[in-house]
């Protein structure tokens, strides 16, 4: 109706205020707020597995990468879906996508102590690949009382 009123009496349709300065809500916006970079615990990292949260974060050698854009690989039902939201270091090093090489959030963080030289080479290569492709957004640290 406002359109007909505007046509008759010379008004214009005023768009929503996207700046949010006056506290007005922007109804059309349903995009989540960006996450602040920082420290992740295995427990907090696990949320970002592409299923519970749309975003997909993967930890390699203590650094967390945002792999959301690689959803076709790491997203639910993707070939590497097991890595999403977890520490993928051992899996990448041993070239295994099995769930056995990945630790649960309530287990201690894998110290990778028994990897062979060839495994380390493979892992370093993967790390370089991730560094080139995805933004590093923080670090993975053991949560006191849970991952000790």
């Amino acid at each position: 109706m406002s359109f007909i009123r505007n046509m008759l009496f010379g008004g214009v349709r005023t768009s929503e205020d996207p700046t949010g300065i006056n506290g007005a809500a922007f109804a059309s916006n349903n995009v989540g707020e960006p996450i602040v970079e920082g420290r992740f615990y295995p427990r907090t990292l696990y949320t970002y597995n592409g299923h519970d949260d749309e975003k997909i974060f993967i930890a390699i050698k203590g650094n967390v990468y945002d792999c959301t854009t690689g959803r076709q690989f790491y997203g639910p039902s993707g070939p590497y879906a097991n890595f999403a939201g977890r520490d993928a270091s051992r899996g990448l090093a041993m070239n295994s996508f099995d769930i056995e090489v990945i630790r649960n959030w309530d287990q201690p963080i894998d110290d990778l102590s028994n990897l062979t030289a060839a495994d380390w080479d493979a892992l370093n290569e993967w790390e370089q690949h991730f560094q080139g492709k995805y933004p590093c957004i923080g670090t993975l640290e053991p949560e006191p009382g849970i991952n000790d």
Binding site: M1, F3, V12, P18
Partner: protein
């Protein structure tokens, strides 16, 4: 009771038709849906603590590369391209198109003939091969042709390069050995420094005003092009290693005596971003004619106009330049004939906000007929709904062919940004006046209605970035609430060659980073590189200290916020 049922029937019909129109019919008629207008950028999913997320134009999602060139093929590889590829294609397509300067028209074969003649007879000769200091505006024939000649030369030899100068240099410049001046009056201002230069070209063809004791190394433009032939041929073969794409393309020295270098990649990136921004069914064609209105004293315009002009020529279109004072600062209340004649056939217009402000007062009379006022009111209502209409075009048929106006909003304090003065990294407090001659969204829609043309607002950072930092959508005719219009200018989504973020600053604690407010930083392919060694080092330090390095350039003193629609809003 019959009249009552009639009244009820009419009321119900009006309400239902009103509801149908607002909810369905208008949706079909809109150029762009509100959903698209409300999501004009992609942003990264994470941010650093004192920064916003990284923002990019919707056309270049995160994970995809920014627009870095024209995407030409070299065998099975893709290359960015350079000025040589562009001019080669321009000359291949040249036929009926032309370039005119203040209503005097030249065919492209004339321009190409002159430029090649200058290059081979003068610039690439051993004794004068070096930087070409150009103190004449490229918006004039002389400046344009000499710049084109030097750009051709920049690919042939590493030494020839056009160097736009805001003023006559007071000291000898190591990288420049040919100086181009606009008049004998400027020549007299050399004041004994003629011997600094191997060659001085004066672009005033009459020798009447020449001083008696002219030095031996001085020629005028007429002598320079003597013996040229029309030539519609320009062949460029790229080397297999793409090395030409990174060669220097143009240098520019601002009035604050800071110099910036642009490479061929900067040029083609900004051209590609411009071309990419046209929506489907509205892309550039050979029928396009771009008119640039600008002052000859505006050196930055001599840099910014290249990407749009070359992009239009690349599609077989024509270019026009208007610089005469009668057009830009009219003495009478009616617009100049040359302005009317030029605008009549133009399809695109590139203009700075202060000039548009002046000329619209003359073009559109303040007193109009009642019928025109009603049409204007309808048109602005429809525009605010997102529906484009030409119904309120003033001076009937005058702007029939005009399809888009590019309104250049230029950052006022770009000297602070370009100084990169590390010792004084004291970020200024936000104060009003970041842009001058800004337009409210209501006024922009009135201009769209009167011209019967789209209007795109572009944000420029003079001397440092070639092409716009950001631009509003071709189909964005939103009218914002007055509270927004009085405090902010919407400058649209970032160019597809750039990405941006906003950072928190100590000097402005009232700007809340969680609400995406703060100081703007950019990185991408259209940013020039400081020539002076200390400025280059300072730029690197500033980038590291303020914006965490990684190639980010903080625009010191430029404050704004990201709207929830993905557009950049600058504080007025």
């Amino acid at each position: 009771m019959e009249w009552l049922s009639l009244l009820v029937t009419i009321a119900v019909t009006v309400i239902i038709s009103g509801w149908l129109v607002s909810n369905y019919i208008l949706d079909f008629k809109r150029d762009l849906s509100y959903v698209a207008l409300h999501e004009q950028s992609n942003m990264s999913t994470v941010r650093k603590e004192n920064e916003t997320a990284h923002y990019r134009n919707f056309l270049v999602p995160s994970g995809f590369p920014l627009t870095a060139g024209l995407g030409l093929s070299l065998g099975y590889r893709v290359r960015n391209g350079n000025f040589g590829d562009v001019w080669n294609a321009v000359m291949d397509l040249s036929n009926a198109n032309s370039i005119s300067f203040n209503s005097k028209s030249y065919s492209l074969s004339e321009i190409n003939g002159m430029a090649k003649h200058i290059l081979h007879s003068c610039f690439s000769k051993g004794d004068t091969a070096g930087g070409i200091g150009i103190n004449v505006s490229p918006l004039t024939l002389e400046g344009f042709v000499i710049s084109i000649a030097a750009m051709m030369g920049s690919l042939e030899t590493n030494r020839v390069i056009p160097h736009l100068l805001a003023s006559i240099p007071r000291h000898k410049m190591d990288t420049v050995d040919t100086l181009v001046l606009d008049s004998w009056h400027s020549y007299k201002m050399l004041n004994g420094s003629e011997h600094f230069w191997k060659l001085i070209i004066v672009c005033e063809n009459s020798n009447e005003k020449a001083p008696k004791d002219v030095s031996d190394n001085v020629i005028n433009f007429k002598q320079l092009i003597e013996g040229y032939h029309n030539d519609s041929d320009f062949k460029y073969t790229p080397p297999t290693d793409n090395s030409d794409d990174l060669k220097p393309f143009l240098n520019i020295t601002s009035q604050w005596n800071t110099s910036t270098a642009f490479s061929h990649m900067n040029l083609v990136s900004s051209m590609a971003a411009f071309i990419k921004n046209f929506p489907a069914d509205h892309s550039l064609t050979e029928n396009d004619i771009i008119t640039t209105l600008g002052y000859t004293s505006d050196v930055d315009m001599g840099l910014q106009m290249w990407c749009k002009t070359l992009a239009v020529l690349l599609h077989g279109g024509s270019a026009r330049f208007l610089t005469d004072s009668e057009t830009l600062s009219p003495s009478s209340s009616s617009p100049s004939k040359s302005l009317i004649d030029t605008l009549k056939s133009s399809t695109l217009l590139l203009i700075k906000s202060d000039i548009l402000n002046k000329i619209t007062k003359n073009i559109f009379p303040s007193q109009t007929t009642l019928f025109q006022s009603v049409k204007e009111s309808w048109a602005t209502t429809l525009l605010s709904e997102g529906i484009f209409t030409k119904m309120a075009q003033s001076n009937s048929n005058l702007f029939d062919s005009m399809r888009c106006i590019y309104l250049m909003e230029t950052l006022v304090e770009s000297d602070i940004i370009s100084s990169f003065h590390q010792a004084e990294v004291k970020i200024p407090k936000l104060r009003s006046g970041q842009l001058k001659d800004t337009f409210s969204t209501t006024r922009l829609n009135r201009l769209r209605a009167n011209f019967g043309s789209r209007l795109v607002v572009e944000l420029y950072c003079p001397y440092i970035v070639i092409g716009p930092l950001s631009q509003t959508n071709f189909f964005d005719y939103r009218v914002f609430p007055q509270s927004l219009d009085t405090n902010f200018v919407c400058t649209g989504a970032l160019s597809t060659s750039l990405e941006g973020k906003i950072i928190a600053t100590d000097s402005n604690p009232n700007l809340d980073i969680t609400k995406r407010q703060g100081m703007l930083c950019i990185r991408g392919f259209t940013i020039g590189k400081p020539i002076e060694k200390n400025r280059l080092e300072n730029a690197a330090t500033i980038s590291k200290e303020l914006a965490n390095g990684e190639g980010w350039m903080p625009l010191v003193g430029v404050f704004g916020l990201w709207g929830q629609d993905g557009c950049l809003y600058l504080y007025k």
